[in-house]
Symmetry: D2
Subunit: 134 residues, 4 copies
Amino acid sequence: MKDEKAREKRTGQMRIRVRYSECDPMGVAHHTTYPVWFEMGRTELLRASDRSYREYEAAGVFLAVVALEVSYKKPALYDDLLELESVVSKIGHVKITHEYALRRNGELLATGKTTLACLDRDGKLCPVPDSLRV
Amino acid sequence: MKDEKAREKRTGQMRIRVRYSECDPMGVAHHTTYPVWFEMGRTELLRASDRSYREYEAAGVFLAVVALEVSYKKPALYDDLLELESVVSKIGHVKITHEYALRRNGELLATGKTTLACLDRDGKLCPVPDSLRV
Amino acid sequence: MKDEKAREKRTGQMRIRVRYSECDPMGVAHHTTYPVWFEMGRTELLRASDRSYREYEAAGVFLAVVALEVSYKKPALYDDLLELESVVSKIGHVKITHEYALRRNGELLATGKTTLACLDRDGKLCPVPDSLRV
Amino acid sequence: MKDEKAREKRTGQMRIRVRYSECDPMGVAHHTTYPVWFEMGRTELLRASDRSYREYEAAGVFLAVVALEVSYKKPALYDDLLELESVVSKIGHVKITHEYALRRNGELLATGKTTLACLDRDGKLCPVPDSLRV
């Protein structure tokens, strides 16, 4: 039961409509838009937990992306309604790893992975707060 | 002589290469990119004066855009090398107006106008610093 | 009754969550993001009508922004949930004018106006299709 | 001698000024901007060779990003003047790999890697053109 709740907190789903301004002359979403969407997935994951990322920043806790990986399988098109799944896959002492799967009607378009480092107001590494250890 | 120098400080030229990520499915620069370029023009104008905008912000002076107008005449294409002319057209008590002309090989592609309000750290209106009264 | 339906088609509401990547070092949504949101408003307006903009482009009808005006009243902040109202305010022979109001909890943050020109595949002006004359 | 010329074609340097609109509430360049810069590096690499990417697209050859990796070491700040080094590190049958190093005053800020797939007008994989085999 507890595990189920924990897992729920670690996984989030959201729908994303591809904007015209996100698409390039090939008529598909530009590849740099995918990590923008991943960041939205992380924001929604946090919102579903106890505190929003806005509240963390206000409290002096910053999560900076230190590594990014994206694998593009099929293009997303303008006006597509996409499903983004975001998962907290690992929580270390000062870093958090998320993984992402982007789909359209269930078909996998891309996967991704980010590593965030926890920083204080001075930009120094600090331990991941307990409230983020879901 | 002094007038000439003043005018020089009030007008700036810069060249801008259109990025792939700035272009949309019509194959032209997305209309929201033009005000990004205008902001670059303002930054270069300030750099040519006594202080950079980065230094103003560090000193607690923020310039926030309160009005924007753009007139699009011909599309800018991917990889075009554009010429942007930026002019300080009016300096009021708390506001500064800039005007812009974007050209490709001398041909006018767009014109624009922005009004910036001078804000302090608390987001309150404050007088335009003398150093900006070129 | 018919008028009411027509007006309904001419006005659209949508909610927009401010993304982290849309905010600048002042901690507020960058001013160039507002016209991106306006474009989303136009897209949703069209979707509520008979055809989506994607379908228009597929049919060889392109709507290019030829004029943009934005008036910024209060800043939108990261993670704010905004309400965007978009209205078709004028339909001419080859051009369409939209007006926008952006609010947060009912408070007006910005207003805007765009003029779109109707273009064919060759980028030439063409009459606004009847299906857009709502 | 020939090797030296080949290597020269495989490596490119460019300077990039960090734009205000590219920076986020942490006051640093948003992490999704780095791959935008990498794409600019690729464009300049191609320009230094026989044909520009614009010419390739006109000829029906599209280079789509299928994999992206970025490692962020130190933040880039607004108005920084960065040096981007881009290298063609591998050319396969249908794919090209580039590697990137982003520096400020010689200090390494980030490294990156992209894999591009060569596509024809129908989005199908096609062999890398000989002119790209530098």
